[in-house]
């Protein structure tokens, strides 16, 4: 099956073409939905088959390259369009196609009755196509192709409701913001690619990474490559300083937020860092930067999430925060833990978003959690699945989020330092708190919506994906049980990824050993803190709402700062956007374009005009004058000919 891995990419492309070209003619939502979902479903099936085949291969044969054709062959730059199937890419493919398939099915119910139904499914399939290219590409250029493709799909889907208002602006503005901020990151990624080509003379993963492992290349070069690649990752994966687009990306339909802006696309940066782990591991300074940026993003996004009132905004900041965790893991060298968290996060965050979508659906597009309350009475399935996801993200022992988050926290201490762990654990507590603030305000307490709103449970086509994801959110963590519980070498996922990350881990500094007691102690502290945060949030927001109000009014300055997201958008507005607009208008338009470029164009025309005024006198209009000139010319030519003979 591995040799046919390209089918997993072609099915979504076919779905995109069918729905994109004929969707407006088909009109029948069921057919469009089935085409869109089955394209991804088939893709998922082939991925599973490939995965099973990979499982049965001996460990050292688990890296397979499937070549399709030569893409570029210019002056020594030979780029093949090829896919790399190995332990890392197959896990990512399983996540993308599996979660993608569930979200496609869910969308059939969620998008029911929308005038752009076919457009929505065409875009979703195109997204899966691009994402699979990103994951499976065997060189940086194919990865970049997918990288840009998912950016495009993200833009198209954020702007899906292109005629609606969004917060202070419009939906297309939010889409453009996402696109432009991503461009900044992509520019960094491109520079990184150029530098890789210059240094290693190739863009092929296997070639570059084996050269990076054995060739004597200076740390400075590695640092620059890693820095540029990381800038690309901050754009795509919404890290400081380029995270500002992700909260605005919530302007898109909710399944899009679940698929693209929670489960898959935003983890592309983590995937890329994990893929290039050997390059990052060779640049310790940049590794520290990755960890610090991840940690700061995790912490600050979580604090913003504390006070947001839009259900999707809370989840968006939660996503930014969780992505920060993944980069923290990657930054301390625990690439396997980062990918593990990508996986569990895909399950529970997709579930949270889909649950939120179900709530929004029931509440007639109402997204403000202050207008919810006691929804557990009306929507039992959504309530149950949502609360499972919330327990998972909060790190309640036994659920998937616990295993991955705990592994990250442990590595941030054992491979990083105590500060990393303290801030990381604090973030985990804040995460638990804001998630249960959200749960309490939505599902518990008094009903705060009007009499004319009649919430109802969503149809089966929406609740079944929720149930499947809830199941995955519970059991998803058991592939990576920490070694203190499962014994030495008992972490299945860690063993699976070992061949991929071994070179990078060998290059990193080795640390002193830590006792099991330390691990258990830290785990106990963070779990206890998270559980009490859950309980506290539940009590405050269901029964004693006045505590929250009082706290908010007593630290009004801090509260407003958080509510306004640390004014980062405003700072960017005045420090970057305004100056660019002013310079563009006052200098680039009024001076450079109007005076300089127009001046050169008009000036050359004027120059020719003035020269013509002089030389047009030669056109006397008297034919004989022309004949005379001709005769003189011929005579001169003749004389010259004769004299040279």
């Amino acid at each position: 099956m591995i040799d046919y891995i390209y089918l997993t990419i072609l099915f979504p492309l076919a779905g995109f073409l069918i729905n994109g070209l004929f969707g407006s003619k088909i009109k029948n939502e069921k057919i469009i939905g089935i085409i869109g979902s089955s394209a991804v479903g088939l893709s998922f099936l082939f991925t599973i088959l490939s995965f099973i085949q990979l499982l049965n291969l001996p460990i050292d044969e688990r890296t397979r390259v499937v070549e399709l054709f030569t893409w570029l062959n210019v002056a020594g730059l030979n780029i093949k369009f090829a896919y790399l199937v190995d332990q890392l890419s197959i896990v990512m493919s399983l996540i993308v196609t599996g979660v993608g398939f569930l979200i496609h099915v869910y969308s059939i119910g969620y998008m029911h009755g929308d005038k752009g139904f076919w457009r929505f499914f065409a875009y979703l399939n195109l997204f899966i196509f691009a994402m699979m290219n990103l994951i499976l590409g065997d060189n940086f250029l194919v990865l970049f192709l997918g990288w840009e493709g998912v950016g495009l799909c993200s833009y198209l889907l954020i702007g899906f409701y292109y005629d609606r208002k969004f917060e202070k602006g419009t939906v297309p503005e939010a889409a453009k913001k996402a696109f432009i901020v991503n461009r900044i990151g992509d520019f960094g990624f491109l520079l990184g690619m150029f530098l890789i080509y210059q240094t290693f003379d190739s863009l092929n993963f296997l070639e570059v990474f084996s050269k990076a492992e054995y060739f004597p290349i200076s740390e400075t070069t590695f640092s620059f490559i890693a820095l540029f690649l990381f800038i690309g990752a901050t754009g795509k994966s919404a890290q400081i300083p380029l995270y500002v687009w992700l909260p605005d990306a919530m302007a898109g339909p909710t399944p899009v937020s679940a698929l693209i802006h929670a489960a898959t696309m935003v983890t592309a940066g983590v995937y890329m860092v994990a893929r290039a782990s050997i390059i990052f591991a060779s640049a310790p300074a940049i590794m520290t930067l990755v960890a610090v940026i991840g940690l700061l993003t995790a912490f600050f996004a979580a604090t913003i999430g504390l006070v947001q009132t839009d259900i999707k905004k809370v989840l968006a900041y939660s996503t930014v925060s969780q992505l920060g965790y993944m980069f923290l893991a990657a930054g301390v060298g625990a690439f396997g833990a980062a990918i593990f968290h990508v996986m569990t996060h895909a399950f529970f965050k997709a579930l949270l978003f889909l649950g939120a979508g179900s709530v929004i659906h029931a509440m007639h597009e109402q997204q403000d959690i202050r207008n919810y309350g006691n929804l557990k009475k009306y929507m039992p399935v959504t309530y149950l699945t949502f609360i499972i996801a919330a327990f998972a993200i909060a790190g309640v022992p036994g659920l998937s989020g616990f295993f991955s988050k705990d592994e990250i926290l442990w590595y941030s201490y054992s491979k990083g330092n105590l500060t990393f762990w303290i801030i990381g654990a604090l973030t985990a507590v804040i995460t638990a708190f804001y998630m249960f603030r959200l749960v309490s305000l939505t599902f518990f307490g008094k009903e705060r919506f009007g009499k004319d709103v009649h919430p109802h449970e969503s149809p089966k086509v929406m609740t079944i994906p929720l149930i499947v994801l809830a199941f995955l959110s519970i059991v998803g963590g058991y592939v990576g049980i920490p070694e203190i519980f499962s014994g030495e070498g008992g972490n299945a996922l860690k063993n699976w990824f070992k061949p991929i990350f071994a070179p990078a881990e060998a290059k990193l500094r080795t640390f002193g050993s830590h006792s099991h007691f330390e691990e258990l102690l830290l785990m106990g502290i963070s779990v206890a803190a998270a559980l009490s945060a859950i309980y506290f949030a539940y009590v405050v927001y269901t029964r004693k709402k006045e505590i929250a109000d009082k706290t908010a009014s007593s630290v009004k300055g801090l509260y407003n700062t958080l509510l306004n997201k640390y004014y980062v958008d405003e700072i960017y507005e005045s420090s970057v956007i305004k100056p660019i607009l002013i310079i563009s208008e006052k200098v680039l338009w009024k001076v450079t374009d109007n005076k300089l470029i127009d001046g050169i164009v008009n000036g050359s025309a004027k120059l020719i005009y003035y020269i013509s005024i002089i030389i047009r006198k030669m056109q006397t209009g008297v034919a004989q004058f022309y004949a005379l000139i001709m005769m003189i010319g011929i005579s001169v030519a003749l004389f010259w000919l004769i004299l040279t003979l």
Partner: protein
């Protein structure tokens, strides 16, 4: 006895010069056409001379071609002159300066 080749060529050159002078100097369009004929005929004379002196008939055949073309050219030229005369009521080349800026 044979007339030397120079005589023919000098005659031809003289005829050609007269033609050129006519084209450049005269104002009457019909006379200019006649001067052009003169130039063509001088060329014919040179062709036939060389042909005869080199014992090669190609030049003579060429002369026939030139005559044919000259006839056609004269016909068209005269037609244009007549057309211009109908418009301008003159064939004076000085007054027909349509090419002027």
């Amino acid at each position: 006895m044979q007339v030397p080749i120079e005589y023919y060529l000098i005659l031809s050159a003289f005829m050609f010069s007269v033609g050129v002078a006519g084209v450049l100097i005269r104002r009457n369009a019909i006379i200019i056409l006649m001067s052009i004929e003169l130039m063509l005929n001088s060329a014919n004379l040179a062709l036939i001379t060389f042909s005869s002196f080199m014992g090669n008939s190609i030049g003579q055949i060429f002369a026939f071609f030139v005559m044919t073309v000259a006839a056609a050219e004269a016909a068209i030229g005269l037609a244009i002159v007549i057309a211009i005369f109908r418009n301008k009521l003159t064939v004076n080349i000085d007054q027909i300066n349509l090419f002027k800026w």
